[in-house]
Symmetry: C2
C-alpha cells in the first residue's frame, strides 16, 4: 500500500507505526471488514486508534464504507479510488466494485428531472455472487 502511505504523507499526516499497521492489515484482508475484525488482528494497537485511522482513511478515499442491507456497516479498501458502486453477496459477503457511466447518467437524469442539484450518490446491489450462485 505504498501509494496509500504516500497519500497520507502528501496530505500532511504523519506516517506512524500504528497507521502503517492498519494499512497493512487492510491490504491483507481481501473482503470488507468491520472495525472489530480489523482490531482483532492488531492486538497491540488501541481500538480508538483503529477507529480514528479508518475514519481518516475514509476521508482520504483510501477506504470506503460499504453499507449492508441490514443497516450494518463494513469497510473496504477502495481499489479504484474513484466513484463506483458495489455488488454485495448476501451469502459469502464478498463485495465487488463496478463503475457504469450509463447508471450514473440515469441517476443524474433523475436529479435533473426533479430540479435537484446532485452532489453525490450511492448505489448498492444485493444478491448472490457468481460463485455462490453456481456452488449452491
Amino acid at each position: 500500500m505504498t501509494d496509500s502511505t504516500e497519500r497520507l504523507e502528501d496530505t500532511g499526516y504523519r506516517l506512524t507505526a500504528p497507521r502503517r499497521a492498519v494499512l497493512d492489515a487492510i491490504a491483507s484482508i481481501n473482503r470488507p471488514f468491520t472495525i472489530e475484525e480489523l482490531s482483532e488482528g492488531l492486538p497491540n494497537i488501541g481500538r480508538a486508534t483503529v477507529f480514528r485511522t479508518v475514519k481518516l482513511l475514509q476521508e482520504l478515499d483510501i477506504v470506503c464504507r460499504v453499507p449492508l442491507e441490514d443497516g450494518s456497516v463494513r469497510y473496504e479498501r477502495s481499489r479504484s479510488g474513484r466513484h463506483h458502486h458495489h455488488l454485495i453477496c448476501s451469502v459469502c459477503g464478498s463485495v465487488t466494485e463496478f463503475s457504469d457511466p450509463s447508471l450514473d447518467a440515469a441517476i443524474e437524469q433523475n436529479a435533473t428531472s426533479a430540479s435537484f442539484e446532485l452532489e453525490s450518490h450511492s448505489a448498492e446491489l444485493y444478491g448472490r455472487c457468481d460463485s455462490c450462485r453456481t456452488t449452491s
Copy 2:
C-alpha cells in the same frame, strides 16, 4: 393511515393503542425522522416499543429506511409502498421518493454482466433540493 392499520391486521399483528399512536405520529411527520424524534412526540410510549414498532413497520413496507450520507439512519413513511429511490437534501433534510424503470434496468444490467443474481438494490441521491437550491 387506515391502509397501514389494515396491513397490520391482515398480517396477523394486533392493532394496539401504542401501535396506533406510532402510526399516527409517523403520518403527521412530513419528513424523515429518527427514532429519537418519534419517541419524543410519544412520551407515554416506551422507547423500546417505538423501536419494535418501527422495525415491524419496516418489515411490512409501511416505513422505509433512509440511509444518510454520514452513515446515520432515518425512517420515512413509504408513500408508494413500492420499490423506489430517494433524493436526499443535505440542506433541509427533505427526502423525495422517485421510481425510474430505466435506472432499475441499468442496475439489473450491471448485475447480469457480473453474473450476479440480484435480490435487491438501493440508490440514494444526495444534494440540494429545488427549493434549497433556489433559496440560497
